[in-house]
């Protein structure tokens, strides 16, 4: 019953997009109310679908045939919905955050008197629709399509303030960098079609299942002359390009900090909670395909672990509050990738969920601070906001504790499970994973440090500017979303208390594990665990390993927190970056990654202008050369036309003589 309304989950925000776009300027609040109504409606329908999945199991239906082939390529390119535990959970997350962000936007955009509100709400609506379309997609092609649409909305919303110089440039960069990743993704999609003839995620004829059977030798597919495993690794890595781009993993992460040029609610919705999650979600969606390829998994884990550490170090020195959050986002998605690569399907999904809540919370909290600070984002101008905006402070603190991974906030549970999975599978004979685990572990104290550096600089100490002394108050429409998310950030971890279960031996409190096992047969969590190439190893026993792992990561997090307290929880904090020496410059400049990409872009344009010169000079030069040769010879030959009639007569005579001679010789007249 509920499943029949699943398309409406996607279409409702789309409707609000149309309303805001065409009628927004005639509506009160610039179309915000339509957006809130639509996303709230989607939220309710999603919850309904979620509950129905719980009672009736997963559901898949093809809704629309986009194109269908025949003959040797009988591919059905369809749109359909796949509602299983993973997508139902994601639907609830996306619609919930979208609704809250819409409400928050009332405070951030409408109350601040921004112009272009219909465009803003149209963008939000289209984004929500595209993201939901991506989430419910039942095949890779549909997923790719909505993946791209999500990118478009990101472009439109980052570049919202198009009258300034920064946002359009950041929007361009975001689209271009993710497009570069999507290029590989598209090759992957095409390769999947060419290999399997289908791109369905679920069902007996779905490509992850076929891949599994092909590796086992049960079916043959077109692997273009490669060994099946090798070919699936290649295809999987190609599709990983899109994931790396969208989820801002190294080396395509550079767009995300720039994307903070967009309005803060957009950063919360798109660049923290949902769109960036699309990449990770995609890997989780077709995890069965990756599971057959150990190499691809190892690469995913390594990219994830490296990004987690790499991005965290850059977050340490940033001055703007949103920049810190941006790098922490990159870093946290690194954890999810690490989990996926380490065979921790549930762990990744878990962290995806908790991160969505606490990062949305942190961004909205930062938005609240930015409203209060009259759009000054520099943390060194803040300070002492704790007393003036208590709701923001306490919720922000909850989010920060979750981000830092402090017991018992949600982030602790999920991050701990990620690291645990990496650890046991690493110990089980995958030294590469241990390397990734080490990087993930190293990132823990760094994360805690920059998180609390941010908290202390923003809320503690003495106000360091006039605006911080007299901040602008925020209204209910800001506080309400913060409160909801604050509660979730504290409690969301309770859905999956695996360590507690393992240590205390309690059965049945790993709700998320059970939940994700309810899907169609090959899409279940324990099936993935079976397929994945890893085996587990423990330090001592399982419970010991859990305890050791949790203790180490919690200890490191607390260490980072304490260091931050030491340095910045003072009345007059000073910059300590000078102590980093030469590393400081490297970190400030983001390891010169941006410079490197700008350099690549400039090289490309230099090559382009060389090509242009070549085209104008050589290719067109040949054309013009041919024409000038004929023009020149024409100008010479026309000199025959002397204008003197005697010459014409002479030419006629000679011509006639020559002609007669020719005919005579050929015809034998002179014999």
């Amino acid at each position: 019953m509920a499943f029949e309304y699943v398309p409406a989950i996607v279409l409702l925000p789309f409707l609000s997009f149309l309303i805001a776009l065409f009628a927004g300027k005639y509506l009160p609040k610039g179309g915000a109310l339509a957006g809130i109504a639509a996303t709230a409606g989607s939220l309710l329908l999603s919850i309904w679908a979620f509950l129905t999945v719980r009672s009736q199991g997963a559901y898949q239906e093809t809704i629309y045939t986009w194109a269908s082939g025949f003959g040797e390529q009988p591919w059905e390119l369809t749109f359909g919905v796949l509602i299983d535990p993973l997508s139902a959970m994601m639907l609830v997350i996306v619609t919930l955050i979208a609704t809250l962000v819409h409400v928050f936007s009332l405070g951030y955009m409408n109350d601040e008197g921004e112009t272009g509100l219909p465009r803003y709400y149209a963008g939000l609506g289209l984004f929500t629709a595209s993201m939901l379309g991506f989430v419910v997609a039942d095949n890779l092609l549909m997923a790719f399509m909505f993946f791209e649409l999500v990118g478009l909305c990101s472009y439109l919303l980052i570049g919202f303030s198009f009258r300034e110089d920064g946002p359009p440039s950041a929007a361009k960069k975001a689209f271009l960098v993710t497009r570069f990743g999507d290029y590989f993704f598209l090759i992957g999609v095409v390769a999947v079609f060419a290999t399997f003839g289908t791109a369905a995620f679920a069902g007996a004829e779905s490509f992850p299942v076929l891949a599994e059977e092909a590796v086992a030798g049960d079916v043959t597919v077109n692997t273009f002359g490669f060994d099946p495993t090798t070919w699936f690794t290649i295809v999987g890595l190609l599709m990983l390009g899109g994931v790396v781009g969208k989820s801002a993993q190294f080396p395509l992460h550079t767009w995300l900090p720039d994307a903070m040029e967009g309005p803060t609610p957009v950063s919360a919705l798109i660049h923290a909670a949902t769109m960036v999650a699309a990449g990770v979600y995609l890997v989780a969606r077709m995890y069965g395909f990756y599971a057959v390829s150990p190499t691809a998994l190892a690469i995913i884990a390594f990219i994830g672990g490296f990004t987690a550490l790499f991005a965290a170090t850059m977050g340490v020195v940033k001055r703007e509050i949103k920049q810190v959050l941006a790098y922490s986002t990159i870093s946290q998605y690194g954890y999810m990738m690490l989990a996926l690569g380490a065979g921790g399907y549930v762990a990744a999904t878990f962290h995806l969920m908790t991160h969505a809540f606490f990062k949305a919370l942190l961004f909205l909290g930062a938005g609240s601070v930015i409203i209060a600070m009259h759009h000054n984002e520099n943390m060194w101008d803040m300070g002492g906001l704790k007393d003036k905006m208590p709701v923001t402070y306490w919720t922000f603190l909850a989010g920060s504790l979750a981000l830092a991974g402090i017991f018992p906030f949600s982030g602790f549970w999920s991050k701990d499970e990620v690291l645990y999975e990496a650890l046991i599978h690493g110990l089980g004979g995958s030294p590469l994973l241990l390397g990734a685990y080490a990087m993930g572990l190293l990132a823990v104290p760094v994360t805690a440090f920059y998180t609390f550096r941010m908290v202390y600089l923003t809320f503690h100490g003495e106000p360091r500017s006039d605006t911080a002394r007299d901040p602008e108050p925020v209204r209910w429409n800001v506080k309400f979303p913060l409160t909801v998310l604050g509660v979730l950030a504290v409690t969301a971890g309770l859905v999956n208390m695996v360590p507690v279960q393992k240590v205390l031996g309690l059965e049945g409190i790993d709700y998320l594990h059970q939940w994700l096992d309810q899907s169609f047969d090959p899409l279940t969590a324990h099936h993935y665990a079976e397929v994945s190439p890893y085996s587990s190893g423990y330090i001592g026993g399982e419970a010991t390993t859990v305890l050791v792992g949790a203790a180490v990561s919690l200890g490191l997090a607390l260490g980072g927190l304490l260091l931050a307290t030491q340095l910045y929880n003072v009345a007059e904090p000073t910059e300590h970056t000078a102590k980093l020496g030469a590393i400081k410059d490297v970190l400030y400049n983001n390891y010169y990654q941006d410079e490197f990409q700008v350099w690549i872009a400039n090289r490309t344009r230099a090559v382009a202008s060389v090509a242009d010169t070549f085209d104008q000079g050589v290719v067109d030069g040949v054309v013009n050369g041919v024409s000038s040769v004929s023009l020149f010879s024409g100008s010479r030959i026309r000199r025959i036309q002397t204008g003197v009639v005697t010459n014409y007569a002479a030419l006629l005579t000679l011509g006639l003589t020559a002609l007669l001679l020719a005919f005579g010789l050929l015809g034998g007249w002179f014999l």
Binding site: T642, V644, T646, N647, A649, A650, T653, L654, L656, T657, L660, L661, G664, W669, F670, L671
Partner: protein, 143 residues
């Protein structure tokens, strides 16, 4: 060739060699060729009279020597000759100022000059007006 003989009339004989060459080629070809025996005209018939018949398409009724009918050609040539004579007169009658032929060859410069001269003339002295009709009369009279 074209430049150095503008003054004197027809000095260079070199182009004439082409004519000689043409003659040589034609002569060789002619000498080498052979024709069958000639048919010739029947004895006793008046050739001139038969030409007359042919001219007026009467050869079938009156004559015995084969020929085409030329009445149409005769009439066309007659008209052609008339046109030629008229044309010759037309070309010959034009004198000085503003002739069409002059315009064709000088790109209209003369017309411009004439127009300026005329305006200048009318502005300066009106007495000249009597001269112009006079000259026109003379031209028409010569026709």
């Amino acid at each position: 060739m074209t430049t150095d003989e503008t003054g004197n009339s027809g000095s260079s004989l070199v182009p004439g060699l082409a004519a000689v060459a043409l003659f040589v080629v034609m002569a060789v070809a002619i000498v080498q060729s052979s024709f069958g025996t000639a048919v010739a005209f029947p004895e006793g018939e008046s050739i001139v009279a038969h030409i007359g018949y042919a001219m007026f398409d009467l050869q079938g009724d009156m004559g015995t020597i084969a020929s085409e009918g030329f009445l149409a050609a005769f009439l066309i040539i007659a008209i052609g000759l008339d046109v030629a004579v008229d044309g010759a007169l037309f070309l010959a009658k034009r004198e000085e100022e503003g002739s069409i032929v002059a315009l064709l060859t000088d790109g209209g410069r003369e017309l411009l000059d004439t127009a300026e001269a005329t305006t200048a003339a009318t502005a300066e002295e009106a007495s000249m007006e009597t001269d112009t009709p006079d000259s026109t009369d003379t031209t028409e009279g010569s026709r």
